[in-house]
Symmetry: C2
């Protein structure tokens, strides 16, 4: 077990109707004027934005609005948001939406008090010392941005879309309001993508070389088993509140780093997937459903017993004590079945990606000596092999 | 699943040598002059107090000291601490010790800015609106006070020792420094008492009538399994860092309410035990080892499948599908074996309690109509029966 710091001072409000407390919670945390930041028209049409606006008005909190955040959120809108916040004297950025909206809000929040270009923080080196507080009303269980210190933004640099992630303490939400009912109307595909993203946030932590991490292993397996049990329920009945609620809280726990504090983490699957979603503008969770099993298949021999533990404790496989390798592989197969049954793509073709793009994808990921991951350090030829596995998978 | 608020903004520093950062962490959280609060001479003799003092001095943080906190901490010292803090202009209370020291620090912290008697907050009704920040350097994995909103204090009222607990947001530590090495020198009995306390914090949440709490059930079982696996290791080798570390982080997770946010909780065992430790001045964990299995045995028929789940998922028992009741009982028996093997008392005689005191203990717990617990609501005659079971248990 490694030494660690864990500091996630987010004030969570969870359950039915909790979004009606948004104004009160903004005031509790000192906000007087907020940027109401959201995505497309679905949050407007559903009446959610109106409910949040009413709640702000009732609490005497002023607001200015900025909609239009896209999936794989773009830097252009972040610049607009920063300018608007400065002009209007906004003191808190309120995201109403999923991970993309929250990440866009986080980027705006770090940009407002910074005199330079906010993109400096994403290109490495610069760490923000201060940021506006960010609050959120979550509408999809997936990215875990409501509890994490992560923020991922796309920026067009020299004509190429660059997807860059940051992990700063200032990215941690001041408050997060989670009402599982708000996820009832999500399309099944988005629901499945979210569940995949949640599980992959755990995998990045679970597959580690750090020994003696029983306590957090238990947390990892518990979050994974919860999603494994609840995903088929929400696919069958999108209005199953209890299943939606368990998945929503799992999404927060999966990525606020409680599960990974004490260990070396991997993150190769995420980084490889980022190239796919930047290149094809596909859903992050869909990309992960294709990349992650390929990563597992490529690396499992590095620690067969770890993958056997996953197969038995999470996927419910029988342990083959004579051939643990078989157990490891059956766990990966069971995971692909779970995701396939939920309608996720399982290979390049189903994702809309092309085998012939692999050299370009690998080139985009970094220079010739670039590596990814820690469980097993991957060089560029390893990444190419993983993408080839992902391309060729049969359903 | 119930709606909930979860807000535990504690800044955790975990691992070997982390106490050397105490001064730096105090400064990070704005402290200029702290009350260094501790218990007996063991922390002084071990050199821990000197290391913390050095760290404060190095960081330019002033301090005044107040030692002498006893197990089952007393109000008298709280009054002294409040006076000292006011006189010295202290802006943070730094507890170096276990749950008793931290709780004494929390009581001082809530008393300093309050014009009335701090005991008002313990007699019910009054809620503190503000308190000094509290930080801690933890020396025993047990009470979970390092991450919880709890504070338990003993006060002599009309000649009788009253043990009273409070749960306030202002009781949550601003920071907690957890070095498992500091628990290496704990006597085996205290180690075992701590493990019992940790498990009971989970039980109070795990045995619930709230349905559909899969996610937090998984967390509960994960913390319990961790203690079940690690307790025999630390009893065998007190210097087993990894086992100590897993238990220490389990102690925090067991009681910061992450495991119980979404459900009705019980707390009957704790309340009944508080009468024992107030009456006999016994260790809280030792009292729980006697009371909790008796509570389980008395209530398990209320939800046999819940106790069967505990037996299988936590204690590793085989499920008897034809007679789930047998499985439930075998889980309780396995728990008593675990605790007995760790040297904990398993009945009144081993605890130093007397069967003939039961009427007095029951009288002390409240008026004739008083009830405890929520899993199964216990009237005073139920409590008497539970104490009788606890008294008569054979090893």
């Amino acid at each position: 077990m490694l030494n660690f710091n864990f500091y996630r001072p987010t004030d969570f409000y969870f359950g039915r109707g909790e979004e009606k407390r948004t104004g009160e919670v903004c005031r509790k945390h000192g906000a007087k004027k907020v940027l109401l930041h959201f995505g497309g028209q679905s949050a407007v049409k559903s009446g959610l934005i109106a409910r949040v606006e009413q709640s702000l008005t009732d609490a005497g909190v002023q607001y200015v609005s900025l909609g239009g955040v896209q999936p794989n959120p773009r830097a252009e809108l972040v610049y607009q948001g920063i300018e608007l916040c400065r002009k209007e004297g906004v003191d808190l950025v309120l995201a109403v939406g999923g991970g993309s909206v929250i990440d866009s809000a986080k980027a705006i929040a770090m940009g407002v008090p910074y005199e330079g270009d906010f993109w400096d923080f994403f290109m490495g080196g610069k760490v923000p010392t201060t940021a506006l507080p960010v609050g959120c009303v979550l509408t999809i269980a997936a990215a875990g941005s409501e509890g994490s210190n992560s923020c991922v933004i796309d920026c067009v640099v020299d004509g190429i879309v660059k997807k860059k992630g940051t992990n700063f303490q200032t990215n941690v939400c001041t408050f997060s309001i989670l009402n599982p009912e708000l996820t009832f109307t999500l399309p099944p595909f988005q629901t499945a993508c979210g569940a995949c993203d949640i599980m992959c946030h755990v995998f990045e932590r679970y597959f580690t070389n750090t020994p003696a991490v029983k306590m957090t292993d238990e947390l990892c397996e518990g979050v994974l088993r919860t999603v494994v049990q609840m995903l088929p329920r929400v696919m069958k009945d999108p209005h199953d509140y209890e299943a939606r609620a368990n998945i929503m809280w799992a999404s927060t726990l999966a990525h606020n780093n409680l599960l990974g504090v004490d260990r070396e983490q991997d993150w190769a699957s995420h980084r490889i997937e980022h190239e796919l979603s930047a290149f094809y503008d596909c859903a992050h969770g869909a990309g992960l459903a294709v990349v992650c099993p390929a990563w597992m298949t490529y690396v499992y021999k590095h620690d067969v017993m770890r993958f056997a533990q996953f197969a038995v404790n999470v996927m419910g496989c029988q342990m083959d004590y004579e051939h643990p390798e078989n157990t490891a592989l059956s766990g990966i197969a069971a995971l692909r079945r779970l995701w396939g049954d939920a309608g996720l793509p399982l290979n390049f073709k189903e994702l809309g990606a092309k085998r012939e793009d692999i050299p370009t994808l690998v080139a985009n990921i970094g220079g010739p000596e670039h590596t990814e991951g820690h469980f097993l350090v991957l060089h560029k030829h390893d990444i190419a092999e993983i993408l080839t596995l992902a391309a060729d998978y049969e359903r």
